[in-house]
């Protein structure tokens, strides 16, 4: 059992070492990276099955009992996040076969990519808050490398902003850990769940909660801490920004959900109301920022910010239905957002630019790509019956249930404005003729590149449609996951009980 929890971390690390050794061998390294992601997918499905069967599974690394040793723990939320990481990882690894140039490959793109996956999986699976910090660092250093790999001017420029602001958030996180440890004397998250209730000065605990909120808020890119994201996400190659867009901010959201359901639940009147305000402002600023942009990936970047707001909304309402919505949103969003970035890459290949004013004609000459853009784009905006509709439906219904009419209205209006941005991309990139009269046909790509680029897009779009048309199993899953989050007794017993 403990192997199952450790493998999602060990596998990508092992793959990273191998592909680093093979980095100048071209195809061998590339395919090994794909194989590593395939294995990760298999392991994460097994992990998912085990958590579905047993609820929460935990393992103590090195044989030290909790709360002293390092605990790996997977509840349904962790398991589904690992699964979705593996799916996104595999999709991007296949896409990278055709997207990453030889120079970046020799510099070690595939190794860094695998380390990033290891860091993300580690962050989802750890049961120790200091360990979470370490996994954040693993993820960060790999993302730094990926972001500036190749060293274009724009990449370095975006990289400096990304690196500096994320380092500040890291230090905040560390300070939060120090204060929390000073108050409770433990770092194990399950143990913290009980320990925070015995802290005499509960006001101080709320302060610490806000320190964590800021630290994770920067990672999750919420208002007003998101500025590093639109400054950097459009600069690296698509195979990098797609995995960033899909996974990185969601690790921040995951950390927020974990800490604010397991540890900081004493003063929800303050902390969760603060989160609610943050959620509303994040949704609005993100979508308005997107409306002002005219570059494919910049629009999508601002939409990440806006969508993060929805997930935080689910956490902030802190009712069973709202958390169901948040978990559902998280899963749906990662697939859709990564896919949109992948589509933007193909559009750039065919038309020669990310600038909407300089491209066009995609609908006429490659309708297949146009359809594959419409599916995630409409899903993002929340069109029935695609996955985004159910995600938004759950959240709006949850807000109406607690009579939070204003936030429900904000969520609906932001959805409408999302359609505006998606229509803008549609009208500019797909509908209008290419300004230079180019005919961007898919067959212009050679057959292998076409397969590598289109297969992941097709697979992710299919997933979006499946979630859209058969939402029931996914909602049932999200319900069970939310029930676990709201009642951490099972989580605590799995971690601490395993020790005795």
């Amino acid at each position: 059992m403990s192997w199952l929890l450790a493998l999602p971390v060990i596998l990508p690390f092992a793959t990273a070492v191998l592909v680093f050794l093979l980095r100048s061998r071209g195809a061998a390294g590339r395919w090994l990276s794909v194989a590593g992601c395939g294995l990760l997918l298999v392991v994460s499905i097994l992990l998912m099955a085990a958590t579905w069967r047993e609820g929460v599974i935990a393992a103590q690394m090195g044989g030290w009992p909790a709360p002293f040793g390092i605990t790996l723990v997977a509840d349904l939320l962790s398991a589904v996040m690992v699964l979705i990481t593996a799916i996104t990882g595999l999709a991007v690894a296949v896409y990278a076969l055709a997207d990453i140039d030889e120079r970046r490959e020799t510099l070690g793109y595939h190794a860094l990519f695998q380390i990033l996956l290891a860091g993300v999986c580690g962050a989802f699976l750890t049961g120790d808050i200091f360990n979470l910090y370490v996994w954040f660092e693993v993820m960060l250093i790999a993302s730094f490398g990926l972001l500036v790999l190749g060293g274009d001017k724009a990449q370095l420029d975006g990289g400096i902003k990304y690196v500096t602001l994320n380092l500040v958030s890291t230090v905040m996180f560390l300070t939060g850990i120090a204060l929390l440890y000073g108050l409770t004397g433990t770092l194990n998250m399950a143990d913290l769940h009980g320990a925070v209730r015995e802290v005499e000065n509960q006001g101080l605990l709320t302060v610490v909660a806000v320190v964590f909120m800021i630290a994770f808020g920067v990672k999750a890119a919420v208002f007003p801490l998101f500025f590093w994201l639109p400054a950097s996400y459009h600069t690296p190659p698509v195979a990098v920004s797609a995995v960033f867009a899909g996974l990185l901010t969601k690790v921040g959201v995951y950390a927020l959900i974990r800490t604010f359901t397991l540890i900081f639940t004493e003063d929800t009147a303050y902390t969760h109301n603060l989160l609610l305000v943050v959620a509303a402002l994040t949704m609005v600023t993100g979508v308005l920022g997107a409306a002002a942009q005219n570059e494919f990936r910049k629009i999508l970047s601002f939409h990440i910010v806006s969508q993060i707001g929805y997930m935080i909304l689910g956490l902030a309402l802190y009712t069973p239905l709202a958390l169901v919505g948040a978990v559902f949103y998280l899963v749906h969003h990662i697939i859709v957002k990564a896919n949109l970035f992948l589509v933007s890459g193909v559009a750039k290949r065919l038309t020669g630019s990310f600038e909407l004013s300089a491209i066009g004609g995609l609908y006429k000459s490659s309708p297949f790509l146009a359809v594959l853009f419409l599916i995630p784009a409409f899903s993002l905006a929340g069109f029935p019956p695609l996955s985004g509709f159910w995600a938004k439906f759950l959240l709006v219904k949850a807000s109406l249930e607690v009579e939070a009419y204003l936030i429900a209205a904000v969520a609906l209006v932001v959805g409408l404005l999302t359609i505006f941005s998606m229509t803008k991309i549609w009208a500019e990139a797909f509908w209008k003729p290419h300004p230079e009269g180019k005919e961007p046909v898919l067959s212009a790509l050679d057959a292998r590149a076409r397969m590598a680029l289109m297969a992941p897009i097709l697979a992710l779009a299919t997933l979006t449609i499946i979630i859209g048309f058969y939402p029931e199993p996914f909602v049932i899953f999200a319900e069970r996951s939310a029930a676990q989050l709201l009642d951490p007794a099972l989580y605590v017993r799995a971690v601490l009980g395993a020790a005795t």
């Binding site: 500036v148 060293g151 001017k153 400096i160 902003k161 230090v171 120090a178 000073g182 400054a231």
Partner: protein, 132 residues
């Protein structure tokens, strides 16, 4: 002792915030170093200070005797220092490469990722507009 360290942490944070508000990226990085040291000291103090009682196991014993210093925060700080050192080394090299490629350390002048658009007031115009 705690008070002294708390004051020191306060001074470090003050200095680092002052440095990080600068437009120059190098000053920002120096501010960041101070801030991460302040965080490390915070962990150290959070573990409670027990001067002159090192966490050592006497010869022939299996556990330390009596009240000894908490070793966990020291291990945490060590980890944090190592990680912080690695990240700072990376950040320094990145800024150096950035300076090489972009020819500036001024964050206002770094507009390659987000070029100034026609309808937007230029950074220069903004500066002239504000009287400092």
């Amino acid at each position: 002792m705690e008070v002294l360290l708390a004051l020191l942490i306060g001074i470090l944070v003050t200095a680092s915030v002052y440095l990080m508000l600068a437009r120059n990226v190098m000053r920002f990085l120096f501010g960041l170093v101070l801030l991460s040291n302040a965080a490390n000291l915070t962990i150290f103090v959070a573990g409670r200070l027990t001067p002159e009682s090192p966490a050592l196991v006497p010869a022939g014993m299996l556990t330390p005797q009596g009240l000894v210093a908490n070793a966990l925060p020291q291990a945490l700080v060590l980890t944090a220092i190592v990680i912080g050192f690695g990240l700072f080394a990376f950040a320094l090299v990145l800024v150096y490469r950035g300076y090489d490629a972009l020819g500036t350390l001024d964050t206002d002048a770094m507009r390659h990722a987000e070029p100034i658009e026609d309808n937007e007031p230029t950074a220069k115009g903004k500066l002239e507009g504000t009287s400092l």
